[in-house]
Symmetry: C2
Subunit: 343 residues, 2 copies
């Protein structure tokens, strides 16, 4: 038995099945223009019984409109970015736009490749994490002629629009909160930072904030890969062995912070009396820890939603709409790991 590759159905097939011109079928399927209820019904029925699925490739080429939004993020294994995605998804839910995700693994060259591939689909907009991009990437973004929203960070100059929080500011605010409670011997733990500009900025903000009060970070340690929770444990133990005088530990993300917290509690160390702790991100996870970790919410879903909205607005009104720069305020939660916190 010879099986020919089953050519997918085309408009023409539907057209023939219901005796209506392709053009009219097309109009029905897109709800565009006026069509009599009668023909509409016939077309719809034919399409359904045949199981016709329109060909967006052809449609997009003809209409010069692609209802895709390129979303470019560094990673999927972090929970932070999936949450941003959810925000984007939610905002795009009842619109014709559809997100398409590319992952860069924090590598600028890969970002270039991914961006190039994405742009070759001629999307209606780009949402891309971070403000740091190679010259090539920036050139592509600029000359793409579509709205570009850089997200998650506002410490820098965007190509076009931008939505995020100031990580530098977040670091400084944390410094203030720490100092206010009388902590002075501060240790820092985080990811290897050349990879992660936002973590770096938080660190710089913290350093600067402390410096203003003449305080210096006493210990620091960086990791990459592995289970963040386990790393938090190990690094905390190692750091305290190296320097038992520390009275505060700032973690660049909640996961390692949680690991540290669990270890300290096991050791019977008084948190926040003897040692204070804080993380960053406000991950939902924290709600189940023995003690609520102090943290700062990075507004991930809101950022995604706001970015998506900008793309939508520009689509409706391509000319107007000045470059939008939206700075969100990370919400601080004192939790229970910061000595007698007051607003």
């Amino acid at each position: 038995m010879t099986r020919t590759k089953p050519r997918p159905l085309t408009l023409r097939d539907v057209s023939q099945a219901c005796g209506v011109s392709e053009m009219t079928v097309s109009r029905v399927l897109r709800n565009s223009g006026d069509v009599s209820d009668n023909t509409r019904k016939r077309v719809l029925e034919a399409a359904k019984t045949l199981g016709y699925v329109p060909n967006q490739i052809a449609g997009s080429l003809a209409s010069q409109q692609v209802n895709l939004v390129a979303v470019i993020i560094p990673s999927l294994s972090n929970m932070v970015f999936p949450e941003v995605l959810s925000g984007i998804n939610a905002a795009l839910e009842d619109t014709p736009l559809q997100p398409v995700v590319g992952v860069t693994d924090y590598l600028p060259e890969k970002e270039e490749r991914v961006l190039y591939e994405m742009l070759s689909w001629r999307p209606s907009g780009v949402i891309i994490a971070g403000l740091e991009h190679s010259d090539t990437s920036r050139a592509m973004l600029r000359s793409a002629g579509i709205p570009v929203v850089e997200i998650m960070d506002v410490d820098g100059t965007p190509v076009d629009a931008m939505v995020g929080i100031s990580h530098r500011r977040a670091g400084m605010d944390m410094a203030k909160a720490i100092l206010k409670e009388g902590y002075r011997n501060i240790g820092f733990m985080g990811t290897k930072m050349p990879l992660d500009h936002r973590a770096r900025k938080r660190f710089e903000g913290l350093t600067e904030g402390l410096a203003k009060a003449g305080v210096e970070i006493q210990e620091r340690a960086f990791y990459s890969g592995g289970s963040a929770l386990a790393k938090g444990r190990e690094m905390t133990q190692a750091m305290l062995e190296r320097n038992p005088d520390l009275d505060f530990l700032y973690y660049s993300n909640d996961m390692i912070g949680a690991g540290g917290l669990l270890w300290l509690l096991e050791q019977g160390i008084d948190v926040p009396g003897q040692i204070g702790l804080a993380g960053f991100n406000g991950v939902e996870l924290l709600q189940g820890l023995p003690k609520q970790l102090a943290t700062m919410d990075a507004c991930r879903a809101e950022i995604g939603a706001a970015a998506a909205r900008i793309i939508l607005e520009r689509k409706d009104n391509p000319a107007g709409a000045e470059k939008q720069h939206i700075t969100l305020e990370p919400k601080f939660s004192p939790g229970e790991t910061l000595r007698r916190y007051r607003r």
Copy 2:
């Protein structure tokens, strides 16, 4: 100043810029066919200085080939599915294929919509989570004329190919392990299951495995939404208050298991002496818990990679390649929450 919408560059622009026919430019850009080194160089340079980005929409329409793989998953907020995605991403890394993700929120109607939208891009294949789909969805999958891989589960009949583990079997194996260590009063906690067929199958497997030894689950509780870690705590506490005789708790995922574990340890309850625990999934997170939770690894990345490989193979050899059904073996880790575990 009047700004005309900057028409993106076309092959023709490059062709004119370097005095070579469009066809040849196209060949250079796709590394297809023979082109003299000389012209190749000229073309490449022109393309680069102009900043030309090919138009895949047009290319795909002309070649009737779309290098996209539709990936349809229920959720992004679970870490399980991002891991599957990573596996797919990795396997597709150095191939022309690119994954495009759609999220269904565990809703069959949304699955239909997402599938329809995906298919309208005429992808080269579909990777879709689960074996349970509406008739409409199944019909679409069958008649799409492209390889379809249903993943994560093998307890059922796939439309085409399938890669996953047997969740029923996983539940039964867990039952065996539990019984072997002498636990008899067993409680179960998990997500509301109409939503999650795989969790349901694990539960059924567990029930069945216990039944064979004349043991019945004594308590069960289901949740939906919220922080899984916090839910694990609350539910564990509530369940033990309801029935203090329980000596084993099986959690349908590691996150709530971790919550339960933390709560039990805080209460000073002897784990696994007084109460044994097990979760499901083998999330990396577990490595940092005070005690390693017994669990079963669901092979998420491997499943993604294997599914992607099936699509790739079919692409090279569309005719041959029988429907592939791959059953992976979930790896059991006894951890430290199951009484004196032996192989």
